[in-house]
């Protein structure tokens, strides 16, 4: 029970730490946009390794859509204790995952308050998704969109070479 809280608190401290570090380094330059790429990279490495652990007993995935479905159900339940609520695709390599109660945002607000701060808390997850898919041989770009907390949409764009 305590590990859920531990994960949430650790995550928010990582975000605070990275942002403070950025502030110290950028004192001379006026950095208007927050640099979330470090957090995203931490997520990438984490996702890359955790997918090995989570899929060690499973057979290979039939196709990309199957992989996406796995991400939405088992993967999300293992990390965020719930499943993705809505998956949409255009079958051309673009997928939208919608989570109506994203774990790191449920404590922030129930609507629009604190909306400017929301991107910081979804950057890690974007990295986790990107890392996991990278290790499953799907190279992609992941971005997130938050309109009404606590629901959040992750846009995955698969890059075919």
């Amino acid at each position: 029970m305590a590990d859920e809280t531990l994960f949430e608190l650790l995550h928010l401290e990582i975000v605070n730490y990275v942002l403070e570090n950025n502030e110290i380094k950028n004192k001379e330059k006026e950095a208007k946009d927050e640099d979330l790429s470090v957090i995203e990279y931490i997520g990438f490495s984490t996702g890359f390794r955790i997918i090995e652990r989570l899929t060690k007993e499973m057979p290979r995935f039939k196709d990309e859509l199957d992989t996406m479905k796995f991400i939405c159900t088992d993967f999300w339940s293992a990390i965020y204790k719930k499943q993705i609520d809505n998956l949409r695709t255009n079958h051309q390599g673009v997928y939208v995952l919608q989570d109506n109660g994203f774990r790191f945002l449920t404590r922030l607000s129930n609507g629009k308050q604190y909306l400017e701060a929301a991107p910081r808390y979804v950057a890690f997850t974007c990295g986790v998704i990107r890392g996991s898919l990278a290790n499953l041989n799907i190279n992609c770009l992941v971005t997130a969109e938050v309109q009404n907390m606590p629901s959040c949409k992750f846009h995955i764009q698969v890059q075919r070479s």
């Binding site: 809280t5 949430e8 608190l9 928010l12 975000v15 605070n16 404590r107 922030l108 607000s109 129930n110 609507g111 308050q113 604190y114 701060a117 808390y121």
Partner: protein, 145 residues
């Protein structure tokens, strides 16, 4: 049976949150003065209770009652003080205060990275969750007696 208002103080005496549901008479002071008065009273009463106690003290000051209202007090190990004014017929208020701390304060203030712990609480989510929690209590009713 009703709940009139709630005060939340941190360990240095700063008023973090105040909400009223049913207050009929104002005290004639500004909110800061009233908060300071309340905190001063709590501090003095706690120390008085522990000094005068004829036996070993377990929890210390819990509540006071007048003929019209009762003031209930709950202090957490971290020094947070929760004060709730209710009418005299309410039962089980101590548990209510404990649940408010566990289920509303810890979840929506402590775990919210944008709420700093020694500053007054600005989160709308905390306010609405507290409101919803209080209104579903059996000791709360919208009509005052």
């Amino acid at each position: 049976m009703t709940i009139y208002n709630i005060y939340i103080f941190d360990k240095s005496g700063i008023l973090l949150f105040y909400q009223e549901w049913n207050r009929l008479k104002q005290s004639g002071m500004t909110r800061e003065e009233e908060a300071k008065l309340m905190y001063g009273m709590l501090f003095s009463i706690k120390s008085f209770v522990s000094k005068i106690s004829p036996t070993d003290i377990k929890e210390g000051f819990l509540c006071y009652k007048t003929s019209k209202y009762a003031l209930h007090f709950f202090e957490t190990p971290s020094g947070l003080k929760f004060v709730l004014n209710t009418d005299i017929h309410s039962q089980g208020v101590r548990d209510v205060l404990q649940q408010i701390y566990n289920q509303v304060y810890v979840e929506f203030v402590v775990k919210n990275p944008l709420c700093r712990l020694s500053e007054p609480i600005q989160s709308e989510l905390f306010k609405s969750k507290l409101d919803a929690y209080v209104k579903q209590l059996p000791i709360f009713s919208a009509k005052s007696i």
